[in-house]
Symmetry: C2
Subunit: 189 residues, 2 copies
DNA sequence: CGATTCTTTGAAAACAGTCAATCTGTGTGG
DNA sequence: CCACACAGATTGACTGTTTTCAAAGAATCG
């Protein structure tokens, strides 16, 4: 499964086999069964996880027990809690497998060491962060500008196929809607 | 006014005076009067702008004429439209001065050149992008999780003083509310 | 199958948006 | 210096959207 990660890296920038070996040495491959947690709220998150297969969901649970989905991560995406990673504080998020999932995990100190020692890796990550920022800004724009129905339509066209893979109530919580509202929107389409 | 930018840079990482000179040579200082545009929707944005004094607002206008504020930028913040910058497509946003404002503008090709030639600058920008991403994710969380009142409360405590500086209807549009709704929320506090 | 998870539906309530009018303060030009 | 225009904030009455709560139907999985 590390091969998926290698392929991802090579598709973004050229890496020598020595560099790949170094990255491999810093990595741990981990499998998660559906509904298993990679991170539970309250724990400190100190890694970065690349999804080689399957799907993860990052979400918080408020006082009323309502879930709010911050992001999904399918193959070739990353999962992390930057907030906890950066602050060292316990996380307010859970990261849970929606499907059986394989991840390549790099503990943060290893991750940072690889960034320092492998410039191409650093570059890939910087680009990733930049694109993530743009995507997040765009999502903010949708969240404050669109009606429930528009948000759902945009989600469908921005992430084609994803809605088929993820339970509807999780899509609803990603869009800031209740499961019932999303169900009613879908009826009208 | 370039001095404000220099001070900002020095506070983030050490720069030699030669490096500062190089950055200065790549910069253009520009002043904007209140209500003047730095970018108008439809134009292509090809720069990065550091706010030395004053306040900018980035917003879109939808078909109904409603404004949606993506972000504010006061002293020591940056304003940009990464989307247009990255894609080369016309921007969907306006960037407008809320107060008389002074910005230090770097055209993107100069900006990228400085990043390549001045490692400390590159580092500052990478860190900035990373923090911006975290902040944006946090805003997504508020947008999808909180009620109108909770969003406003969080805004007040996250950006103390900012609400006093910015017209209420713009704060409302930042939070995804109408001016009337925000007014009624404030009455209840 | 039987249990669990997920989706749908209905009715009522809460919430936020719309439209129109008024009020306030500020600044500009005569 | 006043008058007027303008941007911004507030209010009220109404409409519309979304949530809530409760229940019933699918679908999935061991």
């Amino acid at each position: 499964m590390f091969a998926v990660f290698e392929q991802y890296l090579q598709s973004k920038a050229p890496f020598t086999s020595a560099e790949i070996e170094q990255i491999k040495a810093a990595s741990v491959v981990r499998t998660l069964r559906k509904r298993q947690y990679l991170l539970q709220a309250g724990d400190v998150w100190q890694s970065n996880a690349f999804v080689a297969s399957g799907c993860l969901r990052t979400y918080s649970v408020d006082e009323k027990g309502t879930e709010h989905t911050i992001r999904f991560a399918i193959e070739n995406w990353w999962a992390s809690d930057e907030e906890s990673l950066h602050s060292g504080q316990p996380s307010r998020y859970n990261i849970e497998a929606i499907e059986d999932t394989t991840v390549v995990v790099l503990k943060n100190d290893e991750f940072e060491r690889v960034r320092r020692e492998v410039p191409a890796f650093d570059k890939v990550i910087n680009t990733l962060v930049h694109r993530s920022f743009m995507a997040s800004q765009s999502r903010v724009h949708s969240a404050i500008s669109f009606s429930a129905e528009e948000k759902y339509r945009e989600f469908l066209q921005q992430y084609p196929g994803l809605a088929q893979r993820i339970p509807q109530h999780m899509v609803a919580s990603y869009l800031g809607l209740t499961a019932e509202t999303l169900s009613r929107i879908r009826r009208r389409l």
